[in-house]
Amino acid sequence: MQLGKKKYAYAGYLYILPWILGFLILQLYPLISSFWYSFTDFQLLGSAKFVGLKNYKTIFLADKNFLQSLKVTMYYVLIAVPCKIAFALAIAVILNQKIRSINLFRTLYYIPSILGGSVAISVLWKYLFMNQGTVNNLLAVVGIPPHDWLGDPVLALGTISLVTVWQFGSSMLLFLAGLKQIPECLYEAARIDGAGKVRIFWKITIPELSPIVLFNLVMQMINAFQDFTPAFVITQGGPLKSTYLYGLMLYNQGFKFFKMGYASALSWILFFIILLFTSLTFKSSESWVHYGDTL
């Protein structure tokens, strides 16, 4: 069995068989249903009536919230995803050094990701960022006047993004795992060549880590486009719809207003948007991702 270019290795089918079955048995039917629903007036209960492209027409021509939510979500993705990944990478590199009690730090930094959606935490955010909250008190020490971090339509989305970035633990962990896989000999060779720390980072660490960077980028993007938890628990989409993330909007349409057909149409629009961005990312990755198997 040759892993050569032209010859196929059919054993691969055996390995991915669980997923093929899972997709066909568990995932395909709900996907098709929701696609069908997007052309109906399905209202959760009762039967769904075919309405053609009506939902899509309404979304593009009449729904004010659609563009607003899309805009908010774009900003959210553009702020939260790069910040989270850059932060996670920086911390992972620092934590990869030989520092005492590094285990403790690693655990402490992962805690926010465990606390994530905890009911207890949603309360805390309000008290940290409200007008007389902790953040304003701290800023007052350095002479910065108080802001309504969650109540000001200009600031709220940034504050919400901060909560997302705060949970950088999972990305950090993957970077750490990736860093551990970089063979020490590469570093040694570079050091012998007289490369400095910065040069080693850009010439060895980043290329070797690029598959993980790609993974984090794609996954965080896919998640961020659909994310609604922080907006749902902290701001409920307000103030003035400034945190009305797309995922929250379609949740409201589906489960608050019972317009599941409409929500399905919204979902499929989002699906294609995410697909577009993911494809572009993969396309660009050909020039910057370095795999061990493509020598």
Partner: protein, 424 residues
């Protein structure tokens, strides 16, 4: 290669065994009946309800009662999912506005009026106004809930305001503004954006009767809307209420705002059912009558069931379900065990039994009586529609954040409501 095939076969076998085990059916015995009862609540509702269920099962050994209870979060979503899947419990606790939403989608609940359930102990209008769909009685009000206006008498007198003031729309401003004048961190009203929407609905109800009528039309004129918004603009301008930028993060949770808990705000619009929770450990809280303008068409004060208990139309044991409801509403043991865990009972016998045992708190009783006296007409089903509410809220938000003048807000409110109503 062979080993990999073997490994995959093992995985496949494991999978098929899982599939097979999932297919087994639960066995049913002929005479014994299992009733599933679902509700949301806190400790103070879970414990008495489970006790009542236990006591009932002891008396009726053939009936097994299973409680499916939890917190408020997600309850409605789960219920809707279950109804869609045909798996909802036999007896279900719902919130009043859901009755119309769910019934309009199909024959979800059993018609109570078609059974022999005794309705004489209920107020007929109350049943008709809040528990019917298309003229059919679909559920039973577990308790009575009314709006109440609560004030912090200490903050009022500290600010030089007579704590016994009878509130009018005008003196809320002329007297209330003294609080913010004296201490800029304090305000007369604790209203968050959602509560301001309630106040707006009260004001419009008094001016025009209602916001949206049962005929699916906006019931107020642009002038009336402008009047209302002009009035509430003064709330912001004269420091009656804190700016939305400070209160919007406590949307639907004004009682979690430290300003309210610490006593920096002097009054709240509330429901009697949640009053206890909202007051918490605060002292010097008293209930007051709502302001009513001269010639008001409707007080705008709401009265509705605290929850509604319905029987699933899919239930195989509707008769037994009705019997258990009968126990909850009419059996002395049931009444006493359940107490006020679902609000002050909506039956005469329920109120009487609890009052005799001293199980109704004085303040709740007073607030309920006052509210009942002042209560206006029920809101139309369209005004309670969640999309209509959201539409109102969106305009109120824009207005409160200063993006719209009173005239603009009124025009936009009418225009947006018309658009939403047309789409429903």
């Amino acid at each position: 290669m062979k080993k990999s095939v073997v490994a995959l076969l093992v995985v496949l076998l494991a999978m098929s065994s899982v599939f097979a085990s999932g297919a087994k059916e639960s066995s049913k015995e002929a005479d014994n009946v299992t009733l599933r009862v679902s509700w949301w609540g806190g400790d103070s509702r879970h414990t008495p309800t489970l006790q009542a269920m236990d006591a009932y099962s002891k008396k009726n050994p053939n009936v097994k009662l299973e409680g499916e209870y939890g917190g408020w979060d997600g309850y409605y979503q789960k219920l809707v999912t279950q109804v869609a899947g045909g798996t909802a419990a036999d007896i279900i606790q719902i919130d009043q506005p859901w009755l119309n939403e769910l019934c309009s989608k199909g024959d979800v609940f059993a018609e109570i009026s078609a059974t022999d359930f005794d309705l004489t102990q209920f107020d007929a209008d109350f049943l008709k106004n809040y528990c019917t769909y298309n003229g059919k009685l679909m559920g039973l009000p577990s308790g009575t809930n009314v709006n109440t206006f609560i004030v912090d008498t200490k903050l009022l007198s500290d600010s030089g305001i007579d704590p016994n003031t009878v509130w009018t729309w005008e003196n809320i401003i002329s007297e209330g503004k003294k609080i913010h004048q004296k201490d800029p961190s304090k305000y007369f009203s604790s209203a968050t954006p959602d509560i301001l929407r309630f106040w707006f609905e009260v004001y419009i109800a008094q001016l025009a009767g209602e916001v949206v009528g049962n005929n699916k039309r906006v019931a107020f004129t642009e002038e009336q809307g402008t009047m209302a918004f002009t009035y509430f603009k003064r709330w912001f301008d004269e420091g009656i209420v804190a700016p939305f930028s400070q209160t919007s993060l406590f949307y639907q949770k004004f009682q979690e705002n430290p300003d309210w808990i610490k006593g920096n705000t002097a009054s709240a619009w509330d429901w009697v059912s949640s009053m206890g929770k909202d007051i918490g450990t605060k002292q010097n809280i008293e209930t007051r009558q709502f302001p009513v303008m001269a010639g008001a068409k409707n007080s705008g004060v709401l009265m509705r069931p605290s929850q509604i208990l319905v029987v699933n139309n899919n239930s195989k044991n509707k008769k037994e379900a009705i019997k258990f409801l009968n126990y909850m509403f009419y059996d002395n043991e049931g009444i006493i065990t359940l107490g006020t865990s679902r609000g002050i009972p909506s039956t005469v016998i329920g109120r009487k039994s609890l009052a005799e045992k001293g199980l109704i708190s004085k303040m709740e009783e007073k607030a309920t009586n006052e509210g009942t006296l002042q209560a206006g007409n029920p809101q139309s089903v369209w005004q309670m529609n969640s999309e209509v509410i959201q539409t109102m809220q969106d305009v109120i938000d824009e207005f409160g954040f200063g993006k719209l003048t009173p005239q603009q807000a009124s025009a936009k409110m009418i225009q947006s409501l018309n658009a939403t109503l047309a789409s429903l």
